[in-house]
């Protein structure tokens, strides 16, 4: 790192830091805002100039700090001739644009934002040209896309601005992504992301198999950014931006980023046939096409935009030639194009600003009204046309010279002819710019009476035209910088001599031809223009919009195709996916020998099994009749419980039975408020399909289970059985697993249950506040309903059963640790007892006798279980570690007290609370739906009244 190299960081940072300035300064007024915006740019430029002597001597300044070393990314910068040239352009034109924009933007435009975006862009652009790490370069590259997006859409009220911004971002952003791919490949080939290393490894890169993919991807990035055919279409639409943006981004800097990249990568990528044909040809096509379209554009900015496209094509073509002389020409033309094109854009902006139109057909004769602007515009346009003594002439001659001896495939004519044609068209539209805007008679129908703008507005373009003339007449002044930059591009030590007169060369003839031809074209422009307007031609914008629309339509088809809202389709896809993947996974793999024999099947069990199957099939067949289906589901549940009991799992059987009972009861209550039948079915074909899918899925799972049941394995359950009493203090291993070994699971599950209760409550609450409540009230249940809500027998029996059921519940709870039972079952049993009270004696009656709120019961359950678990921490043990002891109180036998029991109490309370809350919620609907003519209180029903009712009815 040479002395002062760290100033490079400062240069790179200044614009970003400076981006904060306008936001603060805008309150101090517009001039102050613009002045302070200029400060960071000017500072950076001054710092840059301190490097000028060294760089022009051919030294390279480098500075590096680590950023993300794992990925090969470092914040490293280097400044060589090429970087210096671009950095000077970016900062220099940046200053001029700042000045120009101060006068260009109107009072309504938020100027602070504008300058902020401008500086962000400037920083990003500067970053691109001085990055010494391709990843860093990529970052800045994408940042320019982003900041230009904001700048193009700056006039957000204009739809064209918004569309143009999105289009520009879509095209350049995508190109940037492609470039990421290309750069990554490049990094892989070289083994480093340092630009210096990559540039030194050109031979390695060109020899690699991955050269072509990398080249194409990187060029995609460059071509999209530099608006090369067929990606050129975004640039004209980006012209919806304010003119300072167009002048800065879309002529001087951003669009040159692609050219810069190609120049930068020149030593690494250029020199192959692929490079020549892809880059050279693209450039050639773009140059001619851009110039042709420019000739027929009536919008001044559109004309300049396509002219820019054309000149970018020219630059691309020169780089594509891959010769050193072409590189020199390219570098020189970059400078020249910058000077005249930025001046022209600003001129166009001035015209627009003063005459309130940019339509060439509505202009003309401005030389009398705006003499200063006329002079500036004419000088710049003549340079663009390539007239001698203007700088554009010099580099165009060099370009034609190169083109004249370039062979394309086997033809010696293609390139020179097309290059001359491009130059000719360029002359034509340049002349048109002068003739149709400034010459001709003064008109009286301008939208606004034009006159020259204030000095501040024409100062910037004027300065640029001075450069145009200076370089045009004394080309030697540009020699040092061109030398340095061209040497940097090619990696060779070049000493070009820039001069006006090269003798009588082919290029001179081509130039003369171009100028004459251009003049002729201008003369016959009017009929040509009419023909052009009539001629059918592909509009890139239409194609792009069509593509976007097609994409959206395609997306919609796909999305709506699989996402049609029908849950049955989702389930079908889910099941097919599972079965299909499982089948593919299994295909080919065999099974080992089975190690277990099937047990004999006793007849009773076979009958039970059959019942289970029949019931299951019946549910599927009869599911439309909801009540019947419910009964069948009950049968299935009971059969399964019986199965558990038979297979020596009494705990499971007990649990299953009580769960089954509670579920069915709750479902019965819910069924009351549902239609009696399910909605219409799908057609037969669909049913058949779904049936097949279901059978495949069921068969698959069944097969898997069958397969593993026939094979012995060691399981952790042996340990559970062995340690249940010793470690857990209980002989019922199932309960010990639930409250101890895997108490953590149980803890989660009771929360699930509790929440389920709360949700049903919440949902019901919401429903009853909504339109559903009204519908409920209007349902007519009178037809098939008993007039007695509380049958006497049932009331009596349930009340008698209540204490017994509670006793049983407590018993089951207490014995749980050692015998089948436990908090879960106990909770369900007591819930059933309470449920029956509700059913028999009515909601109001039971509720009046209910002391503890169910919400609280759930809460207490969870808290007790949680605190029991956390209590273990007090003893320095892990969460949920249990302890137990044996207690002997005189009147009764010795018994065990285990903390697990407390945990089980939590389970008990939660289960009870949750079930009761669900019931409570359902009952609330019932109250809404209830008619007033039935007895509310239990046992206050007089059968004789029913008699009289019946008689009345008769």
């Amino acid at each position: 790192m040479s002395d002062g190299a760290h100033f490079l960081f400062l240069i790179a940072l200044l614009p970003f830091v400076g981006a904060l300035v306008p936001g603060v300064m805008i309150r101090a007024g517009r001039t102050a805002c613009a002045s302070f915006t200029a400060v960071p740019t000017a500072l950076a430029l001054i710092l840059l100039m301190t490097f000028a002597p060294a760089v022009l001597r051919g030294e390279v300044i480098q500075a590096e700090i680590e950023w993300l070393p794992q990925l090969g990314l470092s914040a490293s910068f280097f400044l060589d001739g090429l970087g210096f040239l671009f950095a000077t352009m970016i900062l220099g034109v940046g200053l001029l644009i700042t000045l120009y924009a101060r006068f260009y933007l109107s009072g309504d435009d938020p100027m602070g934002q504008f300058y902020t975006y401008l500086l962000l862009f400037q920083g990003a652009m500067l970053g691109i040209v001085i990055s010494d790490n391709i990843l860093l370069l990529l970052i800045f590259w994408e940042l320019t896309s982003l900041s230009s997006f904001l700048l193009i859409g700056y006039w957000k009220h204009l739809p064209e601005g918004r569309q143009g911004a999105r289009m520009a971002l879509a095209v350049t952003g995508s190109g940037g992504l492609a470039m990421i791919g290309g750069m990554l490949i490049l990094g892989n080939i070289v083994g480093s992301y340092n630009l210096t290393d990559i540039l030194a490894a050109g031979d390695l890169i060109r020899a690699s198999d991955w050269y072509l993919p990398a080249l194409i991807l990187i060029l995609l990035g460059a071509f999209t950014k530099s608006a090369q055919f067929p990606f050129h279409f975004w640039l004209p639409h980006a012209m919806a931006a304010p003119t300072p943006v167009s002048a800065y981004l879309h002529s001087a800097t951003m669009v040159k980023a692609g050219v810069f990249l190609m120049a930068r990568m020149w030593p690494a990528l250029a020199g192959t046939d692929a490079w020549f044909y892809i880059v050279g040809t693209t450039g050639l096509i773009t140059m001619v096409l851009g110039a042709l379209i420019a000739l027929f554009k009536d919008d001044l900015k559109a004309l300049l935009a396509f002219s820019t496209v054309s000149h970018l094509g020219l630059l691309t073509m020169l780089l594509g030639f891959g010769t050193e002389a072409a590189a020199v020409a390219a570098v020189f033309h970059i400078i020249n194009h910058l000077t005249f094109k930025a001046a022209l854009f600003m001129t166009a902006g001035i015209v627009d600003h003063e005459a309130h139109t940019r339509d060439i057909k509505r202009l003309g004769g401005l030389r009398h009204l705006m003499p200063v602007t006329f002079v500036i515009g004419t000088i710049a346009a003549l340079s663009m046309a390539g007239i001698p003594f203007f700088n554009g002439f010099l580099s165009k001659e060099m370009m034609l010279e190169e083109a004249s001896h370039t062979k394309w495939l086997d033809s010696y004519y293609v390139v020179p002819v097309l290059a001359t044609l491009g130059a000719l068209l360029s002359v034509a539209y340049s002349f048109r710019f002068i003739a149709h805007v400034f010459l001709g008679p003064v008109r009286d129908d301008y939208p606004h009476k034009p006159h020259d703008p204030p000095f501040g507005m024409w100062a910037a373009p004027a300065l640029l035209t001075v450069l145009v003339l200076l370089i045009g007449i004394l080309p030697a002044v540009a020699e040092p910088i061109v030398t340095a930059a061209a040497s940097a591009v090619t990696g060779a030590d070049l000493h070009p001599h820039l001069k006006i007169w090269h003798g009588v060369t082919p290029a001179l003839y081509m130039s003369i031809l171009a100028i004459l031809g251009g003049a002729v074209l201008l003369a016959i422009h009017a009929p040509l223009d009419r023909a052009w307007i009539k001629a059918p031609r592909p509009e890139a914008k239409t194609i792009f919009d069509g593509l976007v629309a097609a994409l959206a339509a395609f997306a919609r088809t796909i999305t709506e195709g699989v996402h049609n809202g029908a849950i049955s389709r989702y389930l079908a896809i889910f099941t097919v996916a599972s079965v299909g993947l499982g089948a593919v996974a299994f295909a080919g793999g065999g099974l080992s020998e089975r190690t277990r024999e099937l047990l004999p099947i006793p007849p009773v069990i076979a009958v039970g099994w059959l019942m289970l199957i029949v019931a299951t099939v019946s549910v599927v067949l009869m599911h439309r009749a909801r009540f019947r289906a419910l009964v069948l589901i009950g049968i299935i549940g009971l059969s399964i419980s019986a199965g558990f009991a038979y297979l020596s799992a009494p705990d499971l059987a007990l649990t299953q039975i009580s769960v089954e009972t509670v579920t069915i009861m709750l479902l019965l209550l819910a069924l009351h408020f549902l239609p009696k039948e399910t909605p219409r079915e799908s057609p037969m074909g669909l049913k058949l399909r779904d049936g097949l899918i279901a059978i495949a899925a069921g068969g698959g799972v069944g097969g898997l289970v069958y397969a593993f049941l026939l094979r012995d394995i060691d399981t952790i359950s042996d340990y559970h059985i062995a340690n249940s009493y010793e470690g857990g203090g209980g002989t019922n291993v199932v309960n010990v697993i639930l409250v101890d070994f895997r108490g953590y699971d149980t803890y989660g599950e009771i929360i699930v249950l509790g929440i389920a209760g709360l949700i049903i409550y919440a949902l019901m609450q919401a429903l009853l506040e909504g339109p559903a409540a009204r519908r409920l009230r209007n349902v007519d249940y009178s037809q098939d309903r008993s007039r007695d809500r509380h049958p006497l027998m049932m009331v009596v029996v349930t009340r008698l059963l209540m204490p017994i059921a509670i006793m049983v519940g407590i018993y089951i709870f207490l014995r749980g640790h050692n015998q089948p039972g436990g908090g879960f079952v106990a909770g369900l049993v007591i819930a059933i007892a309470l449920l029956m009270q509700y059913m028999a004696s009515g909601f109001a009656w039971t509720q009046a006798r209910q002391r503890i709120e169910y919400h609280a019961m759930i809460g207490f359950g969870v808290v007790i279980a949680g605190l029991t678990g956390a209590g273990a921490w007090v003893f320095g043990l892990p969460f949920l570690t249990s302890g137990y002891t044996y207690v002997h109180l005189p009147p009764i036998e010795e018994f065990e007290l285990a903390t697990a029991m407390l945990f089980d109490l939590g389970v008990f309370l939660t289960v009870l609370g949750a079930v009761m809350l669900m019931l409570y919620s359902l009952s609330r609907i019932a109250r809404y739906a209830g008619s007033a003519d039935v007895n509310v209180e239990a046992m206050d029903y007089d059968p004789s009244e029913r008699q009289s009712d019946a008689e009345e009815a008769r």
């Binding site: 957000k156 892989n188 999305t559 809202g565």
Partner: protein, 499 residues
């Protein structure tokens, strides 16, 4: 170590109970905020411990693994818990102003905390069945949050959500049962040891597929993502934010865990399937987004698309790819939750989420515009925001692994993401409001403004930090990926740990 591992889970549970008791008062919402804050502290303590000591494990109930339930945290788990806590804190602050008292009165904040607890539980458990339990906790809590309010749309979305997720949990449970039937254990570390010893490897692969589908539904991958866009655009914004941030990521986490730890026997098949799933998920998600015209729906489909990237990382299974997946996971949670929060504010001041009905946010709420721009462009993968690194890592991993096509898909999807993000930007922010409204943040009273914007700003700052100083995060992800690909430490810590 037990309390370090269980606190991030028990704190939200405690907060849930407390919030429930106070549900009818404003303090209930504050309990949720405090709980999330406390959880953040607990999770940072956990992180510090894991960073210092490597993988840590705790045996619940003091039973040695694999007989009891093990809680275990490696770097991935720890970072997921931290990010969960961060999201919870942000969203609970946001919820102060976002959730109406009527909804809060139904226990919104309690359910929210339960959801967070379930998410944390899933990240910390080392036991397959226990994972199922946390899935259930999440499912029930998220269902509750989804249908709270009880509009027709919400219930429709909620029913689809719960039906598909229930089916997937049933498949998960079936898978657990069969796996237990083949190995006799439920502990993940133990499974990592025993699964390779199973004689019938074909059956193991079948079970692996069952898990893939079950977790795939949770993660919302192609072709199982239907429930997500159907449900995510209906509930309160704070709900969709926490869903978008966390829920699918639990599925991704479970996939990463199982397919780096347990199901690694037939990588050429399983991870090939994952690779295709990843590609299709990326593409269908972003196409879905392209077809939408609603703020939240676009964001919902983007989730799907982004999940594809994470799966891609897992599918490639190289150190760099897993690193990328971990990085992506963390980045995505921050960004995605934040975008939904922004959508909430936008809808609040501009009146809707349908892009056609809103506008003018850039002109009248520039602060919100900036706060949208950061996560939006981060999601789209613009440097130097976090999303750029995430995508970059994965694309690079794909290229280094010779998967040029996959890298191409990833990049192309990135381009389409940019495009649909700019749609939101252009239509909601740039375009003037169709009814000429002036959506200003000053419409909201100060307290509301603070509670809505503070979390958004906080998350945006986080995005920028990850973007500008990616090194420590990448380094961290590298270590985490190392632990995943070389699970010896994990297994030894779990199985070797005795109380």
């Amino acid at each position: 170590m037990s309390w370090v591992l269980s606190l991030p889970l028990l704190i939200p549970f405690g907060a849930a109970v407390l919030a429930f008791l106070l549900k009818d008062r404003p303090s209930g919402a504050w309990v949720s905020v405090l709980g999330s804050g406390a959880m953040l502290i607990a999770s940072i303590v956990l992180m510090v411990n894991v960073l210092a000591e490597g993988v840590i494990a705790g045996q619940m109930g003091g039973w040695p693994a694999p007989f009891g339930i093990t809680l275990v945290s490696d770097l991935l788990s720890a970072v997921m818990v931290v990010i969960t806590a961060i999201t919870a804190l942000a969203v609970s602050i946001y919820a102060l102003a976002d959730v109406r008292p009527r909804i809060a009165g139904l226990g919104y904040h309690a359910l929210f905390q339960v959801l967070i607890a379930g998410v944390a539980g899933a990240f910390l458990t080392g036991d397959l069945f226990n994972l199922y339990v946390w899935f259930e906790v999440m499912l029930i809590a998220s269902f509750g949050l989804l249908v709270m309010g009880g509009s027709r749309e919400q219930i429709d979305g909620g029913v689809k959500y719960v039906a598909l997720n229930l089916i997937s949990t049933i498949l998960f449970l079936t898978g657990i049962g069969i796996l237990y039937g083949m190995t006799g254990t439920l502990n993940m570390a133990d499974l990592a040891v025993t699964v390779p010893e199973v004689e019938n490897q074909a059956m193991v692969t079948v079970v692996a597929m069952m898990f893939m589908v079950a977790f795939g539904v949770k993660a919302a991958v192609f072709p199982l993502f239907f429930w997500l866009p159907a449900a995510y655009h209906t509930p309160a914004f704070s709900t969709s934010a926490v869903f978008a941030g966390l829920l699918t990521k639990v599925g991704v986490y479970a996939l990463i865990r199982m397919f780096t730890l347990v199901f690694v026997g037939d990588i050429s098949f399983t991870h090939e399937v994952l690779l295709w799933v990843a590609c299709f998920t990326m593409v269908t998600g972003v196409l879905g987004a392209a077809a939408q015209n609603d703020f939240r729906k676009i964001l919902s489909f983007h989730i799907v698309s982004q999940i594809g990237y994470m799966i891609l990382g897992l599918a490639l299974m190289t150190p760099l790819a897993i690193l990328g997946a971990v990085f992506y996971l963390v980045h995505h949670i921050i960004v995605k939750a934040n975008l939904f929060l922004v959508a909430g504010v936008a809808s609040r001041i501009a009146g809707d989420t349908a892009l056609k009905k809103i506008g003018g946010l850039y002109a009248f709420a520039p602060l919100l515009a900036v706060l949208f721009l950061i996560p939006a462009f981060s999601l789209a993968g613009f440097p130097p925001l976090s999303g750029f690194w995430a995508k970059f890592l994965l694309v690079r991993a794909a290229l280094e692994d010779g998967h040029g096509f996959v890298a191409f898909v990833a990049l192309a999807v990135g381009a389409l993401t940019i495009f649909s993000m700019t749609k939101i930007w252009a239509e909601a922010f740039w375009t003037p409001h169709p009814e000429g409204k002036e959506p200003r943040l000053s419409q909201l009273d100060a307290a509301t403004r603070w509670s809505l914007l503070l979390p958004i700003a906080g998350l945006a700052v986080l995005t920028c930090i990850v973007g500008l100083f990616p090194e420590p995060f990448v380094q961290f992800a590298e270590r985490a990926a190392g632990q995943l690909l070389e699970p010896t430490e994990y297994i030894e810590t779990v199985l070797g740990a005795r109380p």
